[in-house]
Amino acid sequence: MPLLELKNVTKTFGGIVAVKDVSYYIKQDEIIGLIGPNGAGKTTIFNLITGVYKATEGNITFQDRDITDANPVSIVKNGIARTFQNIRLFNKLSVIENIRTVLYREADYNLGNALIRSSKVTRIEKKLYDKSLEYLEVVGLIDYINNRADSLPYGLQRKLEIARALALDPKLLLLDEPAAGMNPDECIDLVELIMKIKRTYNLTIMLIEHHMDVVMELCPRIVVINFGQVLMEGSKLDVQNDPRVLRAYLGEEYANA
């Protein structure tokens, strides 16, 4: 039984068909790659899964529950977390506050307690602070906890986004181009990090990525998207050797050559 399944999902924006009749699935504990040229519709698929957009047609099920029309907040609660292609952090908050803000869903003090800052509030705040440290430790940001999020270098901002997603305690993690803008060394580092968090938190991961070495390293199974449609789906060997994939990426001429 798949953890998440898309069935004939279509999304149109006015006249533009961004995603067309897409069907695929991901099983528990899998890590799959979602690849395809720019503008193929990959990010839109993430937006559909997480409820940012509503599908025009088709169904999305997560753990046997229909989440096609669910709102983002309930989807997060069900156990899907994501990172963004264009980094979206809480810029003016410190690194640790970025994490603690996410953990506040566990804070069970009420407004009255908060207004007088009762001892219950300070106790819970401290507890969540310590818990935030654990996530920052995992992604290697422990030396930056008091820095403002937007003062971090690019690569570390991506790691902070991953830490924030982890703090949501997801079952399924969607990573949208986590290696974008990284050099080869940083890519190797990132691959290790993704493998580590997958093990530590028992995650199922869907990865959009243009760095093919990262995809091939991490993803035994790959779904290729082109012009909003599933071009093919298969093992990484199948995908590597399929002329259609080369054609999608490089254009007609190259594939014929």
């Binding site: 997480t50 940012v52 983002p72 907040v73 997060v76 609660k77 977390a81 994501r82 963004f84 979206r88 952090l89 809480f90 810029n91 003016k92 908050l93 410190s94 690194v95 506050e97 603690r100 803000t101 996410v102 506040y104 869903r105 804070a107 003090y109 407004l111 908060a114 207004l115 007088i116 800052r117 509030v121 705040e125 008091n146 820095n147 403002r148 999020a149 937007d150 003062s151 924030r164 949501l168």
Partner: protein, 293 residues
């Protein structure tokens, strides 16, 4: 002496409204051009209660706050639920502010445009001061709790906040109600300071003054707006400018602040000894990486 006393009392009263608005505008990131309406609602509710019904002052203040809070639900429900874009929302608040004023001008219990004279003088300077300190303290606690942090997250990136499980509507609504209740309290204090209220005291000019003070003080600071509103009231007084030049003075102060400190007097910081000593150290050493809130 009476004069200085009066200016200080007005500053304390407006601090209550400004600090409340800083939660909504500074920390949650939504602009309002109608918050004077909440002051009006608080002022009229509490004044009517003490004047016609002899309700004790503090209870009347509380009921004025509750009334302002309830009315803010009426404003917030359709506008915040629809997730109106920031500029549309600001225009909605402008219309709301004018609507409240027109209603007050036409009700019989408010005695219309003539206003309510003879309200008892309960708001002395110490009373105003105590309420100002209380509201600053409560607001600081609010901001440093999950409620305030969630508001900042929504201001910083509403999409990411939603993806972090934060309900945008709830967060924005709570900030609106909080700011409206502070406005209501300030209005109640104001009515019992001046002993006379009229709908024309609560126009969009007052709303603009409050919002300007938050922006000028720093969108993400409590002490910044406190300083700014004090400046906005004291500077025209000190210069003895005629009423018609006051708006010009606010405009000028605002322009100067935006030119020299675009993120407001205090930016995202709070005024504290620690912060001041850091500023001095920064000037002697060279600046290190930016610290977050």
């Amino acid at each position: 002496m009476d004069y200085i006393y009066g200016v200080m009392a007005v500053i304390c009263i407006e601090i209550v409204a400004t600090v409340g608005l800083s939660v909504f505008t500074g920390f949650t990131g939504l602009f309002s051009l109608g918050h004077a309406a909440f002051m009006a609602i608080g002022a009229y509710t509490s004044a009517i209660l003490t004047y016609f019904y002899h309700v004790p002052f503090v209870l009347a203040l509380l009921l004025g706050m509750v009334m302002a809070g309830l009315v803010s639900l009426i404003l917030g429900f359709p506008t915040l639920r629809a997730k109106l874009r920031g500029d549309y929302f600001a225009i909605a608040t402008l219309g709301f502010g004018e609507a409240v004023r027109v209603i007050l001008e036409n009700l019989s219990i408010t005695q219309g445009a003539r206003g309510l004279p003879g309200i008892k003088h309960f708001t002395t300077l110490p009373v105003a001061f105590i309420f100002a300190v209380l509201v600053v303290w409560l607001t600081k606690n609010f901001i440093w709790s999950k409620f305030g942090r969630n508001a900042i997250a929504v201001r910083e990136d509403s999409v990411a906040a939603e993806m972090a499980g934060i309900d945008l509507f709830k967060v924005r609504m709570l900030s609106l109600v909080y700011s409206a209740m502070c406005g209501g309290l300030a209005g109640g204090l104001f009515a019992h300071y001046l002993n006379f209220i009229q709908p024309v005291m609560f126009t969009s000019i007052l709303s603009t003054q409050l919002t300007s003070a938050v922006v000028a003080g720093g969108m993400g600071s409590i002490t910044g707006p406190v300083l700014a509103i004090a400046l906005f009231i004291a500077v025209p007084e000190v210069l003895r400018v005629a009423n018609m030049w006051r708006l010009v003075a606010y405009g000028l102060i605002l322009v100067l602040i935006m030119v020299f400190r675009p993120s407001g007097i205090m930016g995202y910081h709070e005024l504290s000894f620690e912060w001041i000593s850091k500023i001095f150290k920064k000037n002697t050493r060279n600046k290190a990486g930016g610290k977050g809130i």
